[in-house]
Structures are given as C-alpha cells and as structure tokens.
C-alpha cells in the first residue's frame, strides 16, 4: 500500500520536474539547473517503478541497466560536437525501438482482451515506434555518411510510400476491430519498419534539421501512445512534451527553409533542384589574405556568417582566434546564425560555444539582419544559400521566399570558399558577383589562419 503511494507520488513529482526542467532550459544561465531537475525526476520515477508489486524478478532489469549505461555513457561523454546530429538521430531510434517493443509485448500478453481504445493506442505506438526506429537509423547513417547523403529518388516514390503506409494503417484498423487476429500483427510491424526506411531515402543532407525534428516528434508521440496503452500519466506527459518540442522545432525549420509543413509530412522533399540555364560567365573579384586582413583591421564592426562548411573544415577554433584578435583591436565582432546553419536545430551555436565563443555574440537571423547595413565587413565562412539575395527578389529561383541573412547590405562582403562551385541547392549565388564582394579562395581553416598571420604580422611591423 505504502509502495503504491510512493509510486504515484514519485510519478507526479517527476512530471512536475520535467516541466520545470524544460522551463529552466529557456535561458543559458538557468539551463543546467534544468538538467538537474530532469535527472532528479527520472531518478524518482525509476525508484517509484522498481517498488511496483508486479515486478517479481530484478535480474534482467539490473543487467539491462548496466548494459544500457555502458552504451549510453560514451554516447554522452565522448561524442564529438560535430557528431551530435547523428547521436540525436540514434537516440530517437533507441527511444522509438523501446516504445515499439513494449507495444509488441503488451499485444502478445493481452491478445484478445484489448479494448478498442487500447488497441488503437497500441497500433499507433507500434507503427510510430517502428517507423521512427528505422527512419532514425537511416538519418543517422546519412549524417555519418555511411549511406549516401544525396537524395535517392525514383518515379512514383510518393505513391509507393503512401500505399505502404495506407496498408499498415488498414491492417491496424482491422486489428482494432479484431484484436485476436495475431497473425496480422507482424505484418503491421514489418510494414512500419520498411516505411521508415523508404521515408528517409529521398531526403538529402541539407534537409536533415527538419527530418531530425520530425523524428523527434514521432518518437515523443510513440512514447505518449505507450502511456495510453499502459494507462501511465507520466508517460503521457513526457511523451507529449517531447512530441510538442519536436513539432515546434520542425515548424521553425520548415519556415527557415520556406517549405510547407504538409510538404515535409509527406516526405516529398529534399530533391536537388537543378537550376535551369547553364552558368554564364560573370565577373567576380578575388582577393588575397593580405588585402582582406587590412580591411578587417580597419573595420569597426564585423559580422561573421558561419555555415556548415566551416564545421566540415574544422575551422571553428581558428575562427575563435580571429574573433579574439579582432576583439583585442577594438573591433565589434558578432556572429549571424541562420536557423538551418548546421545539421540540426541550434547545431551551429553548440559548435561555436565549444570553440569558446561567448554566447552573447551569437545572434539570430531576425535580430542581426538590421545590423548588416551598419557593418563594415560581413565575413561568410562556409555558408552559401542562406546568404543568396536571389531568395528576396528572383521569383524563378528555387530558394525564392526563403528567409536569408542580409549579408549583401554590408559595406564590404568577404566570402571564404573553396571555388566558385554552386551550393547544395545547385544555384548560383548573386552575392559573389557584387562590386563590394571579395572572394577569398581556399580551405576555411587554412585561410582564416592566413588572415591571422597577416594581422599579427602587421602588428609586429607597426
């Protein structure tokens, strides 16, 4: 009796702590308190569950705790920050698999005695759980580049995918009406697993921020469905929080790429759009590190626009040195962060914070755009499509309507880039052909190093 009270109380306390945890996460100064609250809530909930009277044997639980901790620890403590997106995808996969497996064992434990409602929730749990499991594994594989990160498309792809999902749902509906037909259960499970794979195949690397957020939402919803099946309110609360968080992030990512939400839901996105018309020869101005360093030193305000290319070149730490060097000279340096910079929501902020760049220098798009006309230099490192002015005025451009950073409004624009080749969307960037733009060709890490050398050299000479 006391044990039951303890379980109930611990679940209520855990639900409150989880909400507080997310509330405290809203600001960097209180965020770590949020993690503590989450950990305490989790500890309480686990303790409350272990005293349940229906648990008769602990050997498997303890063994699973140990194995899980051994797998989880390196995934948390040693994973490099550049790999956080694939780690996140992998943990969505694990969470969704857990939900799918619990749903499966619940079904076989109570075959034939499940109410219509429980069977509906259970089908939802299993379909969402298994499709998120394979889908997230595919996403992780693409992010890790074990799988080709370019989109794989074929004719009738959407029709095939939708038909598959429709069959899975039809089987689920039949099972709700006839929960005893256990032969159909594996069919539903397998169809969901296959659908997860097919859903991610047509999606390209640059769309990963949306996909990860969406899978996050699915994983949360499958946990909430598990709560309905087990009649566990704590699971419902935590699943709903996770589901709404993933949903909000996917909406933000969609808006940042100017895609409609339905477009994402049906997976018909991420295709490389081949811009019509061969690239005509246009004039651009290239400059040396020496020239660029001289302009940077004379500037009073500089905005740096980092893109994923910077992370690929592992240039974050060199960029930090550049930031330090300019700040010491009294230059005001800020970083302009586009919502889809990086491979998952907020990824660029983490990469720059890891390089010890203070977070109050990392400014979001809406806030920094009015500052560009007043900036002496806008330095683009490894970003491309998010700086293309064509998104504002060229109705024929595939990225027309996408919110961009107003880099072209700065007094001088510098672009560090390997070559003139177009970006992911396969379109030419007008920014590169402006009179005020200097193209700085080279590897990002190497070129920023050259800039630093020129700047320190100038100081020694003076």
């Amino acid at each position: 009796m006391i044990a039951t009270y303890f379980t109930q109380l611990s679940y209520i306390a855990a639900a409150a702590l989880f909400v507080l945890s997310l509330k405290w996460l809203s600001h960097p100064t209180t965020a770590r308190r949020g993690v503590r609250a989450g950990e305490i809530g989790m500890g309480l909930a686990i303790a409350g569950t272990l005293v349940l009277h229906e648990i008769v044997s602990y050997q498997w639980i303890v063994a699973a705790f140990v194995v899980g901790a051994i797998i989880g620890w390196p995934m948390g403590a040693y994973m490099p920050m550049t790999h956080v997106p694939q780690r996140t995808a992998l943990s969505h996969a694990l969470g969704a698999l857990a939900a799918g497996l619990v749903g499966t064992s619940e079904y076989y434990l109570h075959t034939g005695e499940l109410s219509t409602f429980t069977m509906t929730a259970l089908s939802l749990e299993v379909i969402l759980g298994f499709l998120t499991f394979t889908g997230s594994l595919m996403a992780a594989g693409k992010l890790q580049e074990w799988l080709p990160s370019r989109p794989i498309v074929y004719r009738g792809q959407n029709a095939v995918n939708l038909a598959l999902l429709a069959i899975a749902v039809a089987v689920a509906v039949y099972l709700v009406g006839n929960p005893g037909r256990s032969g159909l259960f594996p069919v539903m499970a397998v169809l969901s697993l296959v659908f997860g794979v097919l859903l991610i195949i047509p999606i390209g690397g640059a769309d990963m921020p949306t996909v990860i957020s969406l899978l996050n939402s699915y994983a949360g919803l499958s946990a909430a469905a598990m709560g309905f099946v087990l009649d566990n309110k704590l699971l419902i609360v935590a699943g709903a929080l996770d589901g709404s968080s993933g949903f909000i992030l996917s909406v933000i990512m969609c808006q940042a790429m100017n895609r409609s939400f339905t477009n994402v839901l049906f997976g018909g996105f991420g295709q490389v759009q081949m811009a019509a018309g061969a690239a005509e020869q246009r004039n651009y101005r290239s400059a040396t590190a020496e020239e660029a360093a001289a302009i940077l030193e004379a500037a009073s305000s500089v905005i740096i626009i980092p893109g994923y290319g910077m992370a690929v070149a592992q240039a974050q730490h060199k960029v930090r040195e550049l930031y330090d060097s300019l700040t010491r000279r009294g230059v005001d340096v800020k970083f302009a962060i586009h919502p889809v910079a990086g491979r998952m929501p907020g990824h660029m902020n983490v990469l720059l914070a890891e390089a010890d760049i203070p977070y109050d220098r990392l400014i979001e798009m809406e806030e920094i755009n009015p500052d560009f006309p007043r900036a002496d230099v806008a330095l683009v490192i490894g970003a491309n499509d998010v700086t293309n002015p064509a998104a504002r005025h060229d109705k024929t451009s595939p990225i027309y309507g996408m919110p961009i950073l107003d880099v072209d409004k700065a007094r001088t624009v510098m672009v560090i880039k390997r070559s003139m080749s177009p970006g992911f969307a396969g379109i030419d960037n007008e920014l590169y052909y402006m009179d005020r733009t200097m193209m700085l060709f080279g590897d990002a890490k190497h070129f920023v190093g050259e800039l630093l050398k020129e700047m320190t050299g100038a100081r020694v000479g003076a």
């Binding site: 989880f18 945890s21 498997w60 064992s105 983490v350």
Partner: protein
C-alpha cells in the same frame, strides 16, 4: 468513453499545450540541448519497459522488455550527460575582454 480514458486524453491535451508554451520560450541558441534533453526525458518509457521486463509473464515479453530497458537506459544516461556537457560550453564573455 470510460473515465480513465477521458482523464488520459485530458492529460495528453494539457501536457501538449503546456509543452508548446514552455518550449516556444526556449532560445534558438539552445535548440540542440533542448532536443537532447527532451530525448532524455522521453526515455521515461523506461518505466513501462521495467514493468514488462520484471513481471516475468512470458518469455517473449521478458526478452522484449529487457531490450527496451537497455535502449531507454542508454538514452537516459547519454541524453543527460551530453546535454550537461553542451550547456557547460555556453559561456558569457569574461569581463575585461
């Protein structure tokens, strides 16, 4: 509609609205830690897995439940550890710089 079902739907609706309100206020600066934290929190499915792994009702359910506990535990440990590691990196400018 039974009362348990009704209250479960109620809880889901309220938690979803609460989630929207709380999460909308999270600064985009912290969206990556947000995702890893919600990931760790939703690994609360651990409590469902534990109940199934420890109940010893059938061999199948014990095996599936144990695998589910392993998955959820990996998310709990990994999720909280990496969230805290990331948040530790977010520093304000040191005074005098």
């Amino acid at each position: 509609m039974t009362s348990t079902l009704e209250s479960a739907v109620f809880v889901f609706l309220l938690a979803t609205f609460l989630g929207f309100e709380v999460i909308r206020r999270v600064s985009p600066l912290l969206h990556t830690p947000l995702m890893s934290l919600t990931n760790a929190i939703s690994a609360i499915s651990l409590v469902g897995s534990i109940a199934i792994a420890g109940a010893e009702k059938s061999q199948l359910s014990t095996i599936l439940g144990t695998i589910a506990v392993v998955c959820s535990m990996a998310n709990v440990v990994g999720g909280f550890v990496i969230t805290d590691r990331m948040l530790k990196m977010f520093k304000k400018r040191e005074p005098g710089r």
